[in-house]
Structures are given as C-alpha cells and as structure tokens.
C-alpha cells in the first residue's frame, strides 16, 4: 500500500477540530488535528510530543541496572513487560542464563499484567463509547490483579520487579493461591463483560465495519500486537521469537481476519483468556531455585548492538541498544508498538465520522507516553 499525493492535500478555510491534548477519549495527551467535512473525517494528523520525556536521552546516562525503570513509565500498563525487555537485552548481551524460577515468575506476572492491561482497555473502550458501567466491572478484576502486584512486587503499577538476570525478590508464599483466586474471580466474571458490552447491539454496531485496517496496511504501517492480529497478521513475538521460556508453553495466537474495530475488540477479549491459559499452565509448576543469576555489580555490555523484542499488551516492543563498552548505553532506542499503531490511524480513520474515530482509537488502544517516550 502506497499513499498517493491526494491523501495529503488540504484546502483553505476548513473545519479543523483539535482532539486533545486534553480530551477524554485520547487516553492521555495525544493531539489529533482532524479536518472535517460536516462530521466526516477528511484527514487526521497526529501531533505528538505533549508527553515527550526524553527517555532515550536519559537512558544514555543511566547504568544498565537503572535504565530499565524508566520504561515502566513508557507503556505503564505493560510496565513489567517493558522492564523484561530491558533485562532481556542485557542478559542477551552478557549471555546470562536466567534461573527457571525467575523465568516462570516473570511470565506469570507478565501475563497478569497483560490481563490487567486488556481489562483497562476494555474498561476505557466501553467508557469511550459511552458505556460507563463496564468500566467498573472490569476494574473490579483489575484491582484484584493490582493487589497481587502490590503484595509481591511492592507497587501497583510500576512494579520495578526486574533486575538483569532475574527478579528482585522472591514471590510471597501465598502467591500461587492468590493468583488462582484472582483467576477464578476473573473467569467467573468474564461472562458479565460479554453481557454488558460484547453482546450489546449498540456496541457491536459501533464497532463493526469501522476502521478497516487491511493486512497489507497493517504490515505497511508496521502495526503489531492485537491491532495487527485482528487484520489477520500473525505477529505474536511470543510465538515467532520466543523469549524467556514462552517456547515451552501451550497457547494460541489469536488471529482474526475481520480487519475492523470489532475484530480488534474480539482479539483482545480472546487474548485475555489465552493469558489465563498460560498462567494456569505455569502457576502450579513454578520450579524451585534461585531467582537471580549472578551478575557483576557494575554491568558493562560488550561493544556492539543488541536488539530484543518482546510482546507487550499492545504489540512488539523492541529495545535497540548500541553499546560502546561503557557502563551505560551509547544509544538506546525503543521501538514502541503504539508509535507504529498510531501511524495507521490517519489512514484508517479517513472517511468515517467523529464518533468512529473514537471507536478506532478505543480499539487500537494507544498509550501515549509510549508513543512519545
């Protein structure tokens, strides 16, 4: 798919509306400049940088133990998975073997993060489309997941549970029972989400045939994660380039060929259940042993370039580190999934209504600080 010239032509004196930076549906400080013809969108132009915090620059002055913690402020809903990516790249460079127990715990917490993230997405998608109540039902379960984080990692959102080579401290003894309890609660209540939102005819009509992102477009715009998988593109990093022990686990990559917002919705809903499946496989089989591999106190990476990708709740996060052999990265680039997903929005929103733009943004599920970094 190659864009033509006419896609970028605008006329003088048009009806231009800013959505954001402060707008309830942009989930943060994204600013979309929308050219309208009546209520029909003629063009969307994203204006970014309202939360550009120069994390890449800061990483150049932080040590390899420290630099990861900034990434939990990037995609704060996948904070743990972001940290994991940062730890993995260091481990890859140093060729450290991570203990099996640490790997299992990382995956359990990571998948819990993913469920929590999707729950928040579900809640805010409902909220964006005007349904307030699903928000509260989803947050009830998210709160339970957060309390696990709170008990085991010490923080609810930005856990900082990761060190290169393992995890900071061992989980509490009641970890397994608590996780099972939460999973049971989640599974018991899952039908409520379907009743209040999924099955709702208004909600379905809001999403169906809205924001068509074809497979070719998804590849061309570099979309990843559930957004791309809803376009029929197989791109789950956990399957394609397994890391941290995902290769040993049984789970399905949820793929839909619907290409519209409804497909994106369905993929995310199904992904939550897959995450449950992963956790259920692991939770009773967490091996005993060390939780952290021995690393030097001051980590220095060998000279060279390292790239590691992980599957966050929103797609492929790549950490690209250029090391000059020093104690901090020479250049650190985060290939963020939301940035690529965002670049598809101007293309797929064209021709729809303002209300549809909200639906598209709700189902693509952007986290703005991850875009701006």
């Amino acid at each position: 798919m190659i864009l033509g010239e006419e896609d970028y032509i605008t006329e003088e004196g048009e009806f231009v509306v800013n959505m954001g930076p402060q707008h309830p549906s942009t989930h943060g400080v994204l600013r979309l400049k929308v050219w309208l013809d009546g209520e029909t969108i003629k063009k969307v132009e994203p204006h970014l940088g309202y939360i550009h915090r120069s994390i890449e620059k800061m990483s150049e002055s932080l040590s390899y133990r420290q630099y990861g913690y900034l990434t939990s402020r990037m995609d704060y809903l996948s904070a743990h998975i972001n940290n994991l990516a940062c730890a993995l790249v260091v481990e890859k460079a140093l060729q450290v073997e991570v203990p099996a127990r640490a790997q299992a715990i990382r995956i359990v917490i990571g998948e819990l993060t993913r469920i929590g993230s999707h729950l928040l997405w579900f809640a805010s998608a409902g909220l964006d489309l005007g349904g307030v109540t699903p928000f509260f039902y989803a947050f009830r379960e998210r709160e339970a997941i957060n309390s696990i984080m709170d008990e085991n990692c010490g923080a609810r959102l930005t856990q900082n549970f990761m060190v290169p080579g393992g995890i900071v401290y061992d989980v509490r003894p009641d970890f397994q029972s608590r996780v099972k309890e939460v999973l049971k609660q989640f599974k018991d209540n899952f039908h409520e989400y379907n009743e209040i939102l999924t099955g709702n005819v208004i909600f379905q009509n809001r999403l169906k045939d809205v924001g068509i992102l074809t497979k070719e477009d998804a590849i061309a715009f570099g979309c990843t994660g559930p957004t791309a998988r809803a376009s029929g593109l197989s791109c789950d990093i956990r399957k394609m380039y397994p890391y941290d022990g995902y290769e040993k686990l049984q789970f399905d990559e949820v793929i839909s060929t619907g290409c519209d917002s409804w497909a994106r919705y369905e993929v995310r809903m199904a992904e939550m259940l897959q995450s449950v499946r992963i956790i259920e496989q692991l939770i009773d089989n967490i091996p005993e042993g060390d939780i952290v591999a021995k690393t030097k106190n001051v980590i220095k990476l060998p000279k060279g370039e390292f790239y590691q990708r992980v599957e966050t709740a929103r797609g492929e996060l790549g950490v690209y580190i250029v090391s000059d052999g020093g104690a901090s990265p020479y250049r650190c680039k985060y290939r963020s999934p939301n940035f690529a997903n965002l670049s598809a929005i101007p293309h797929i929103a064209r021709g729809y209504k303002i209300g549809d733009l909200i639906a598209i943004m709700a189902t693509i599920d952007l986290i703005i600080p991850d875009i701006d970094r």
Binding site: Q66, Y69, L70, D150, G154, T158, Y169, I196, L197, N200
Partner: protein, 158 residues
Amino acid sequence: MFIKEYFGTIFKSIKSLLTGMKLTGYYFTHLNKIVTEEYPDNRATLKMAERFRGEVIMPHDEKNEHQCTGCQSCELSCPNGSIKIITKQEIQADGKKKKRIDTWVYHLDMCTMCGMCVEACPTTAILMGNEFEHSQYEKKYLKKVLNKPGSRLKDGVE
C-alpha cells in the same frame, strides 16, 4: 427476506439490550456485591501489603541509633537523585577520624519508590515504609531528613 430480517434485527437487539439491563438490574438489587472500601473511614483496619513501597525510612532503635554508615551506595544507585547524603568527619573515641552521616536528605517529592536504594544498601540501614498519606500544602515539607537529630551509628555496623 426483508421483513423477516427487519423484525429479526429488532428482536435480537431488544434481547441483547435486555441482557445488559438484567445484569445492571442484578447488581442494583444485590447491594451486598458492592466492593467499595471506604478509605478514610477504614483507616483503622486498612493494612498495606507488607512489601508496599510508600517511602524510604531509616529505622532508629530506642537508643536513637541507626545503621547508616554513609557509604553513599544508595545515593549512587538512585536513578534520579532523590537521596543526598552529607557526611562529616567524626572523631572516634580512639582518636581516629571516621566518616559519618551528617544529614540524610530524602526528596520524597522526587522519589519514584523503585527500591533500588534499599537493594543497594549494604547495612540495611534504610527500608521502604508502608506510609502513603504524604499529601502536603507546601512542596518544602516533602524534603525530609531521615536521620533523627542526635542519632548516631549503631555500634558494630561497618
């Protein structure tokens, strides 16, 4: 068949709407399902998770002694410089000069509760506390000195 489809749509829609209303109706009539914890009223029973990181604290024992040697490894490990340790030279009983902390400045306003300082501390002089009610009208109250006035290093901690 247009008519059949038309009415089929209507019935399906109404059914799906009623399903949703049944759920909200269920919760409306089952008030025991309410999950609200009334925060300021439940302060007496509210218990934070044991690992919850609310602030950095420096425990002092009853003799007003702490365990901080002033090695500054926490200061180094802090990624954003929330910790500032000002040391002084203290003349010991045996006449030797030793480095001791003068003030252990903790910027609560900057602290991100990552816990790296606690990890780095060799003498477990600092811990993460559970306190979270830090709201203040003025920013200056958020800058804290953790070592209590007149406190000294516990014997035997090096």
